[in-house]
Amino acid sequence: MSRERRMVPNAEFRSYYGRPVVKAAPWTAEIPTYLFLGGVAGGSAVLGAGADLTGRPALRRVSRLGALGAITASFAVLVHDLGRPTRFLNMLRVAKPTSPMSVGIWLLTTFGPLAGLAGAAEMRGLLPRPLADLLGASARPAGLAAAAVAPAVVTYTAVLLADTATPSWHEAYRELPFVFAGSAASAAGGLGMLAAPVAEAGPARRMALGGVLAEMAAERRMTSSLGLAAEPFQHGRAGTLMRARKTVVAVGLAATPLASRSRAAAAVAGAALLAGSALGRFAIFEAGQQSARDPKYTVVPQRERLISPAGSADRPAR
């Protein structure tokens, strides 16, 4: 704690009655929930396709159903978040590469039906024969196509946050996609561990473990290069969420080595990694909101940039 304090010089700055300069996004819990669900959906689609190709029917079933459920819930929270939910379809009147949200909507519009088809095929027993056969035949192509789009579904959300004037999101644009990719892998792998039998869940365990380690590494790199904008991650709600996540992930990591033998350990580890992924999304969301609400994070780096244009505020080149 004291080490971090010294890294950031005491910020002297002037402001207008301490009021924010930039506005915090008018978004609430729906958005970090979606970041998590989108990660589960995308990660599960890739895991499900792999399970399909390698003959792991139980893991395939869990992952495809997970992707279907998560993407359905994603659409629900995204519509609910709008100021005018009935105008959701206005999202589809343009396609704009300069708008990460527009790119994201088109990705979801492609991914949703494909993942939905593959997921629905897992429930085809409920349907009459000809329809069930049709679904069964289309499941693999749809699942593979969904898996091809899924990595973009997972990482575009990092650009969505970074392409703002919110200091702790924008300044993190280099590492945030890797944090989100890792988070999605640990969540989808966690779901596989939680719900698929141990014998089939080997790839899910390796994916979850690799994901959570990658997430932590990318996040470490992110916070160490953020400068002043790293501060909100340690304070307030964001700080609490970060610490809670650390504990939950530690439980997940401790239980993972046992997960190849014990069904109970696999369930505990899987649930913990899922929860860790969700807490991480909420922490990053809150840190950004906090950085927008305090004028310090907007004014100080900009003022430093003006004083020495070549650089103290600019991040070191890599």
């Binding site: 300069v21 709008l82 005018r84 343009v94 704009k96 703002t164 644009y173 945030l176």
Partner: protein, 279 residues
Amino acid sequence: MGHQLYGPEPDVAADAGWQDAKPRKGFFTDTSICIGCKACEVACKEWNGVPDDGFNLLGSSYDNTGALGASTWRHVAFIESAGADGVRWLMESDVCKHCTHAACLDVCPTGSLFRTEFGTVVVQDDICNGCGYCVPACPYGVIDRRTGDAGTKNVGIAQKCTLCYDRLQDGMTPACAQACPTESIQFGDLSELRSRAAARLATLHDTGVEQAQLYGHDPGDGVGGAGAMFLLLDEPEVYGLPPDPVVTTRDLPAMWKQAGLAALTLFAGVVASFLGGRA
């Protein structure tokens, strides 16, 4: 066709696709002659039918509206400070900057925000679905999503200054500039306003007001120059303005590249998870 994300852009309306673009319009707000009467705030509300922004006493001098927002399209800032030679009282009428590179417009997923033939940036009320993305994108904290009862006009959608688009189309002056009794708010062709601002700055510097500075006038700045520029008597942050705003979309190509790399890494990682073990 390539839409420019950063740097000087002499013809912003043409960049947006207008073939019969008009000369770019804007504001020059000279705070050295603002008397804090708030006629601009009132005229804006009257003309544009903007709902009230709360009847609050904020305890910040004569400022009881706080900041620009969905229902505050002009905002007069008041800064009182005691110095060696008595009390200093600064007043500044703030407004949307109508940036050359407008982050709000670029991130809008519905195309509701658009560039007009006058080079200004306007929300189309009947298209916006209230996604709220423009709100954190703005480097000045101008645009916001309107809150209120179900009956409130345009509730739930993004709202901000239109530079009186309807009045411009009829060759009229925006309501705030029309109402300003001291011509602190000047409206006109941007090129003309830039030279007027430079001349006013020179005059003030000649008469010993050396703290006077221009804000938003430079096409080489982080937003490619603002359509609404200011003459300030202290640093921008004292008025609640960002000292060196940069449009977030400057870095968008680099962001997409990072996201692409991360997506490939994820895919490779999952493939490795299937290849890398026995179980």
